[in-house]
Symmetry: D3
Subunit: 254 residues, 6 copies
């Protein structure tokens, strides 16, 4: 049995609160166990210089933690004067992952900024960020459709992310911090609603892992993604008939 009583292939309780920040075009508070992340989506009516005039949009992400999101206080990156390697790695991952399910032509020459701010951390903050940012982004896109800025929802599929690791020779789905710090192998999987991989990042610094262990991790991860996307579908249903149908239609084979 696991530290918090879960099955090996069971994710933690997930709650997604829509429209959490009133100023943002899209926003959620996602809670995965004790991990809590505020994800906001901001629509900016321009694209970065290197993309101008191509008629395509852009999606980019920033990630941060409040100093006391963790067991001990972390120095702010603004005080340090620079963004750490870990933070940059995570925000590049989030941006890349989200772009994989966006039809950038259909989005038009605008940028969606996804801000993922961890207010309480208990493992899996980057995967929770991706899962939550997807909902915030679709919510913001829904407003663009409602305002008739764009004619259809420029997403091609659902998208969620989950961590999976090996502890005591066994794959564990959705590691909490206590598990994560003991895992010999740690993997993050980002997957679409149709079950295709967008990103696989597996690391065996403590101990290299065998091809068999890899297959076990992949299977466990797929189970987790399916459960997370079920939550997203439920939450995005509240967007109303019009938007909801559009998203349903787009992804009806999922």
């Amino acid at each position: 049995m696991r530290i918090d009583g879960r099955e090996y292939d069971q994710i933690r309780p997930v709650t997604i609160t829509m429209d959490y920040i009133k100023h943002a075009e899209g926003s959620v508070l996602i809670e995965v166990g004790a991990t809590k992340v505020i994800c906001t989506a901001t629509v900016e009516e321009k694209v970065p210089p290197f993309m101008r005039g191509q008629g395509r949009g852009w999606v980019t992400a920033e990630y941060s933690m409040l100093p006391r999101a963790t067991e001990t206080r972390n120095i702010r990156e603004s005080s340090r004067g620079k963004v750490s390697g870990r933070t940059q790695e995570i925000q590049r991952l989030i941006g890349r992952a989200l772009r994989s399910v966006v039809d950038l032509e259909a989005l038009g020459e605008r940028t969606i900024w996804l801000d993922c701010d961890v207010i309480q951390a208990d493992g899996g903050t980057r995967t929770a960020s991706i899962t939550g940012a997807y909902v915030a982004m679709v919510s913001a896109m829904g407003k663009l459709v409602e305002k008739q800025t764009i004619s259809r929802l420029p997403v091609t599929d659902f998208l969620a992310a989950v961590s999976v690791g090996i502890l005591e020779e066994k794959a564990h789905l959705d590691l909490c911090y206590a598990e994560d710090s003991q895992a010999k192998v740690d993997m993050n999987i980002v997957m679409t609603g149709q079950g295709k991989y967008v990103e696989i990042q597996g690391t065996g610094e403590e101990a290299p892992f065998s091809p068999e262990e890899l297959q076990e991790l992949l299977a466990s991860g797929k189970k987790g993604i399916t459960d997370l996307i079920a939550v997203q579908k439920q939450v995005l249903g509240v967007l109303g008939e019009g938007i909801g149908n559009m998203l349903k239609e787009k992804t009806k084979n999922v």
Copy 2:
């Protein structure tokens, strides 16, 4: 009548949720109207180099806004690589204000870090930060007393802060953003439970203000502080008999 139906000398609805972040020694979510700030207090068992070996403690603050706490998205200070002048001014103010009611000798050689992170801004974020940080700080101090690290609560009084401004020739208490952006004069007042001033910062960039207007602003601010401290007292009552009494005793003349 005011934009949100309030009286001229009425503060916005205030809610303080205790223990909002599980890892921190003290933490609150303070909501003043639509302004929401997470305040955490972290106890560190050392003081800055310039204070070592003097047997006295230190209290310091950091302040930040999530990028989408505001109407339009702000670039993160960590991305800019430096903390803005406005942020530094605010965090210096918060630290100075809180120190004014702490008995640094009684605290002993330890530092309390107060992190004030604005997750939604609608005017008065620095004053909400001070009012909320006070509660987070006392809560963290309460845990030190419970653990018998220190023998008594090292605070000398209650402390709250409020803004007050002049719009259309009239003093308005606790400005929301819409009012703040139209005010001719803007003042922040930090005051103790005994009605003494800790900080007065009044600015008449748009139009200098007369001695009479100053007196009107001071009177309105005093009313606001009294109302805010009433909320603090209620919330801190839940700390339990021991701590509650200690605080009550210290400040019985208030």
Copy 3:
């Protein structure tokens, strides 16, 4: 009696030397006791990006200290790679104060940069900077009028600043460093020739102050401002009949 023999409500000897730096459009060396500040005013024929095309001008300030302006040597902010919070707070204050008496429309789309460089510090450097920068600014504006770039002096009033504090239960005007380091309460007042407040910043970190003490501080400050403006008037008289009259007329009710 005070440490340097002054009365409680007496300012230190003030000297303002005009045209101290030959390259600048306006410049003074202001000496207030042993505090010496070089203030230059630079006219730039453009405004910051956020103000372009509005037909209004801008006034902004920078403040710095030579490393050995003080008792012990300070590391240069250029060596540290960043401007300290204290410096930013002061330069924001100076800019805000000066703008309060400038008619930005009449100035036209140009920026006046006020550089205040403290070459010797003995308390009151920020207030001396404001008092001196006012003279440098008007002097630079005078040249714009002489060159007929603008038709009239775009100022609405005189402006000076002074510090006042409480030592041994008593208000002291214009603190020198020795007094400043012992003061329980420290306040800076910026006031116009007509006796209106532009800025009040009072801090009681060491000890909160009562409403009665506040009134005492305000009264003492007003006395100091009046004396400083008298010096400014005398110095600006040398600008010649034309400019002098213009300034006199503008502020004849003072």
Copy 4:
């Protein structure tokens, strides 16, 4: 057929020149096709502060490109004043990968710095860096054994890295730049001599990839690793009988 005439599962010609930089404890120039990386290993007789007194060593890496290693000139990161997210991600990957085959206890309290400087880039610079850094590191360790600073080679296995991608629906091993820029899926695999995974990083930003494609990529990557380790074995043979045997013995089951 591929752009440069290779089979789909064929790596580019690989040359590793030992002792390329005379000052370094270990150094190689690794050439993989037109990609050229100078890898040096520096032994420092201390560990980072967070590891002191634990009797364990540390291995860390830095990665950089000369400005003109690429088709168009890149601005130096020292001129920008910060290390890019991409660079940090790569140097974290290299350090993590190398540590996975080092016995940090046996290394003792010393740090090995691995510097990977790309002087000419044509795809696969991060994987060439790992493959080359392994040889530089073992070479430096060999010198520590020769000097009897440590009694045995503190490595547990061989280690190499290769890229693999999907172009035109087909897995391609060891992508050159022209292929890399057209690949729909890009994966980097770091593997030990015993065929265990140390790191898998697969990204399908352009198009998510199916589980079947994933298996194809993994198989192709394994072929590449085997070929690269064969080159490493040959080159490290020149280290002489003593060291060579030690390494052979450690890894005899490979």
Copy 5:
């Protein structure tokens, strides 16, 4: 006799390998004894903002060392977040020196970036950079002439640089590191093919030097420059008849 058996006025063996980096418009590896520098020349079809619209070109240089180019490892300037004073001094020197022999009008509105990256250092890295950068620059210019972007080689003379110092009361030409660290006086001389000075930088921090010693240093330096330019001529001869003749003609009086 000198440490490496050379005569006092003998330079170290010099090798210049042309077209060392395939992507650059011009590139060399210059080896002066054990000092090795990769010099690349990049042609950019624009000039810095302050030079636009004047019909003149620009030549600028950057200099860096690999961390392990030296006996002990140096921290990367990108990790420090700033370029050291020494580096800036050297790159300003290289740029200034090269511009002295370029006809900027004839170059047209384009910039030549000269990157000098020291991969192994053994004294004289800045002078080797200048001598090598000259060849890389002319090689890049040759390509512009071949493509008929410009009609003739926009250089006015050959250019080389050498160090010379005083050890044990005697002038030594082209100091290696062991000599450099013992020299009482250190001088760098940059000279044209016609024997004119472009730059003289002599420093006697350890001991001031007499006018007689200065003359000795100048004479030894001239000898070194002549030998270095002979190597440049030989190497640039391979550029082919057309370019070779152009260069020969320009500098026939040398």
Copy 6:
């Protein structure tokens, strides 16, 4: 005749005001024509980490310009967040030059910081800084002798610096800004009282210079140094009999 009526080998009027800043151990205002520099010397009772425990002292310099020291306003280096290459080059030069005449053993384990702040610039700011910093340094050393911290003045000679350049085929001594901006060749010479070179930096970016021109520049520079040292001697005479004699004795052969 020259622009300001001087002879070709005549320096501008020089004034050195002693004890210009009351807080510093040594300080002067040096005026060379319209160039004005405040030089302060600060004694710190420790040396940089790399020198500790060797019983030797250190001398280092910092240089800066007020924003409006020049014709047009310069952005502060503290605002830019970094010290420019030019500034670093100058402060390295000043430090190196001053150290050449200091007996670091006799100084003992302490550092002398020389701050040179240009308040008005009209050419020759770096040479004026050296000439002025020498006086400030000796003045601070004099105080150490008076306090019997050290037993004798730890200087070995006088030291001054001057610029010299070639305009219209002729050597000009001590260039003012108008001359400097037209000079084809620019040279700075630092020389001791005994007529030995400490530093020669000659640059012919606009036009390389011949050996004959070099000799002419050196001769003119020597004349300037002699005149400057005469002023230093006069000013340092006021240090009083004791110190004055010590300095005279040390340098009696000059």
